[in-house]
């Protein structure tokens, strides 16, 4: 594997995480529990897809093989997507959505904060800009964790259920392989163990404050970095890609 190949793959991981999480959030447009929340979720979805767009443009330029950001978003198959297993999980209810957002926002917050220092100037610039938006995303989802955890018995129960269900996908975010190792050596990528410690502190603190518990003895699921996903991703891509694929090669 060359550095160029590693960097291409690394950008896809960052981009896919945002694209798929943003897509899930966009499914909720016009379905929010209250109008203000509808606006907030649509706005966050737009931020995430905007960041994914910029990262995919960069990935395409690294690959330098005639593909553009749309080819990468709409013409790759499931096994070539590298978003975290957590990001592709369906919304189910508002508690599921917010727990998922919170766990990923906290991850992105620390990851992007580190990547600001990347020796790759484009990654540094994109994550510096992205971190400002993610800071707001994390504030939004943390506030909801607090509200839902401490609100009513029902909201606490629903949120606890969501944590119990989603926790098994959390470790997958921190898996590192050859791509990471190569790029960490070059000062481009970040050691995810450092991110994990900070992430754990934030998550533990927020859950404790909101009277929520992290489940014990959970069997973790892995695979996203090899493009091995849960069954949900195929349906998501079928919907997202179908129009683009149905009319090959045209402009939109």
């Amino acid at each position: 594997m060359t550095t160029q190949e590693a960097l291409f793959n690394y950008c896809l991981r960052l981009a896919d995480n945002h694209l798929i999480l943003g897509h899930r959030l966009s499914e909720l447009c016009s379905k929010g529990p209250v109008l203000e929340e509808d606006i907030a979720c649509t706005n966050i979805s737009l931020d995430l897809i905007g960041q994914a767009n910029a990262l995919l443009q960069y990935a395409a330029s690294i690959e330098n093989n005639g593909r553009n950001e749309d080819d990468l978003a709409f013409l790759r198959h499931e096994r070539h997507f590298y978003n975290s297993l957590l990001s592709e999980q369906p919304n189910r209810d508002f508690a599921f959505t917010m727990v998922k957002q919170f766990l990923i926002d906290a991850f992105n917050y620390y990851l992007f904060d580190e990547l600001k220092k990347s020796k790759d100037l484009t990654i540094s610039a994109l994550t510096t800009k992205g971190h400002k938006e993610i800071t707001y995303h994390l504030r939004h989802s943390s506030t909801w964790i607090d509200r839902l955890g401490l609100g009513t018995d029902e909201s606490n129960l629903r949120t606890q259920n969501a944590i119990n269900e989603l926790w098994r996908f959390t470790d997958d975010m921190f898996v590192m392989d050859e791509v990471d190792k190569m790029l960490i050596t070059d000062g481009i990528a970040t050691d995810l163990n450092i991110i994990k410690t900070k992430w754990q502190n934030t998550v533990n603190g927020a859950f404790e404050k909101a009277n929520l518990k992290i489940p014990e003895k959970v069997w973790m699921q892995y695979g996203s970095k090899q493009g091995k996903h849960t069954e949900h991703l195929g349906f998501l891509l079928a919907e997202m890609q179908h129009l683009h694929r149905a009319y090959p090669g045209v402009k939109w």
Binding site: H23, S26, E27, C29, S30, K31, G32, P33, V34, L35, E36, E37, D38, I39, T42, N43, S45, L46, I49, G50, A52, N53, L56, E69, D70, A73, F74, D93, F94, D146, R147, L148, L150, G151, T152, E154, S155, R158, E239, M240, H242, L243, H244, Y247, V250, K251, W252
Partner: protein, 313 residues
């Protein structure tokens, strides 16, 4: 006697172009009329999110997806300004939503038509937002202050919406034969409902006379409809698309187009709940409102606890 005096000074204000503010005296019929119009307008923005939101997850490029997300987010924001303008007349948002859910309050009947293909997103922006702008530009000078001010903000964003719709149509009409066919089909389906957006002919419109006298509206339905046709027909020509009206003809004498009569029976039918999507639009709205009940309760309970804690401290 006092009422007659009030009414005279109210009408004088209107005639002098002074805006009516929430605390000013106003005839009950005026209040009801404005409130009904703002509420319909707000609900239209909110229900309008559904036919457009329908294509967000399937938008054919990342750029189109982002523009559509931004647009639908704007519509939600417009709904918010308008609910606030309505609240200035002493109703709560819960009451307004309740009226929507029970069918007591109406919204623009255009949103009861389905968005069947991607080209419909172009046609909705170009035609539906185009028609809406005709109305909204006029409403920036409507006599009720909070409504006029909401419209100023809304108009700034609506012209961007119309442009993005026209841009989608441009790309499709310059694209493959299948794309062009998709664009023509969308125009065929959206043209007549768009003309109906201005409301029935003035002579049959029960609310038109008062609306003009009180300067809630400043132009009649037919006048606005004519202006929309005059503006839009040349745009269709630029796109190389055919407007689906065999009576359409330039009239040199009036410097405008003569055009056919919309199917007003269909209009009445859609307004009374029998359009292709009336049931779904309201059912979806009620469903998400019900699904969100526990979230709203949690937020209220949380705020109450915080409040209590801060008082105790």
């Amino acid at each position: 006697m006092e009422n007659a005096l009030n009414e005279k000074s109210f009408q004088d204000k209107i005639d002098e172009g002074i805006s009516i503010e929430p605390k000013d005296w106003m005839p009950e019929t005026y209040r009801k009329h404005v409130l009904r119009q703002i509420s319909q307008h707000a609900h239209s923005e909110i229900i309008g999110m559904q036919p457009e939101g329908n294509w967000i997850t399937r938008a054919p490029s990342l750029r189109r997806k982002m523009v559509l997300l931004a647009k639908v987010q704007d519509e939600a924001g417009h709904g918010l300004y308008l609910y606030s303008a309505a609240e200035s007349m002493g109703v709560t948002r819960d009451e307004l939503l309740d009226q929507l859910h029970t069918g007591k309050a109406k919204y623009s009947s255009i949103f009861n038509y389905p968005t069947l293909t991607w080209a419909d997103i172009g046609a909705v922006g170009w035609l539906v937002d185009g028609a809406a702008i005709m109305n909204q530009v006029m409403l920036q000078r409507t006599s009720y202050g909070p409504y006029a001010r909401a419209m100023v903000r809304i108009c700034k964003e609506e012209s961007f919406h119309q442009r993005q719709g026209f841009e989608i149509m441009t790309v499709l009409s310059e694209g493959s034969s299948e794309q062009k066919e998709m664009a023509q089909d969308a125009l065929n389906r959206w043209w007549w409902p768009s003309l109906m957006m201005f409301g029935p002919p003035d002579e049959e419109s029960p609310n038109s006379a008062n609306a003009l006298k009180w300067k809630i509206k400043r132009e009649g339905n037919d006048e606005l409809r004519q202006r929309f046709v005059n503006q839009t027909v040349p745009q269709a020509a630029i796109l190389g698309l055919k407007v689906p009206d065999t009576d359409l003809k330039w009239n040199e004498a009036k410097k405008g187009y003569d055009f056919g009569t919309p199917n007003w029976a269909e209009f009445k039918n859609v307004i009374s709940g029998n359009g292709p999507c009336n049931k779904e639009r309201i059912a979806n709205k009620i469903h998400s409102h019900k699904e969100g009940a526990w979230v709203r309760e949690a937020a209220e309970a949380y705020a109450a606890k915080k409040n209590k804690a801060s008082i105790a401290a």
